[in-house]
Amino acid sequence: MESALAIVSREAASHGAARVERVTLRVGAISGVEPEALRFAFEALSPGTVAEGAQLDIDLVPARAHCAECDKDFTIESGFLFECPVCRAFSGDVRSGRELDLARLEFSTPTTPDHVLQN
């Protein structure tokens, strides 16, 4: 989470944003990361950073593997046994589900309308 907040600060600075409204993380089903632990870490570490008070969204990515026998991808419903639902072969060829990315940020910058500046 510390590296996530470091990236958030960097991106906010490069976009000239004063504040981050929303942070979206992409977390794979077999990334080894617990969304609840991420939320806890975000709440514990974000105060005092540009992301303080931002909403944390977590997009979960299902795990998918490729079956060499059927030459098809299949979704892994749960657990770590990647068994092809058609031919029951075990696959080690993981195509998605390991993601742990900072996907999207939403910044907001209050702008002062021209007529206010003129006053």
């Binding site: 976009h15 075990f90 999207r104 940020l105 939403e106 910044f107 209050p110």
Partner: protein, 268 residues
Amino acid sequence: MSSKIEEALATGFRINPLNRAAAPSPRNLSGPLSAEISAALASSPGGEVRVQSVDVNVPLLEKNDILAERNRGYFLGRGLLALNIVSSPGSGKTTLLERTLDEFGLEERCAVLVGDLETDNDGRRLNRPHAAVAQITTGTVCHLDAAMIARAAEEIDLDGVRVLFIENVGNLVCPASFDLGEQVRVVLLSCTEGEDKPLKYPPIFKSANLVLLTKTDIAEALGFDRALAVENIRRIAPQAQVIEVSSRNGEGVPAWYEFLRARLPRRR
């Protein structure tokens, strides 16, 4: 907060679209406004707020991944094979490396980086005149990371070294997430641990190129079912090669050396 917003919140209004309802939006437009935006709205009659949504798509372990790629390039550039050796504490990593240095290490020049939270006991056990060894003590950190490896690799003489063994901190969980820049990840499972370890700690086994089933010399005394253990490894990690070894009586050790030989980068 502007009076209009306060009013709207106080009335608790409902919206019931009767037709052409908007598709659910990923944006929560009606969520509470942050204090700063509310203040800006209140202070500027125009009430304009510029909202920017930016696709970032940066892996969170970015820093470690970049350093790991740099390590990998460095190791390949030097023509050496780097292996990340992971397992629970006490499953025989150091004993396997002692024997490997004494036998294979006479054939090809080896070096070892060994990680523990505290003490240099393992480094001292592995210390051989013909092999460079560095101990990494991590303090409280439960895994090695790419930055530690980069620093440690600078601390030992890698001239002429063909194989770099990185003995990770004994831990079956966290090291799975940290690429060190190795070309090969070796996971050890010892017969003292139970046949179902791969089912209980899948991520690390999923990431293995080679699984070594160790301490096979005492398997029978323990009532350990080797076939079942191998079956469990194959179910969780079909991509991995499996070798059953005993560092004590030498079973399977030649196959381990053959595995290493087959992966040596071309001599520069």
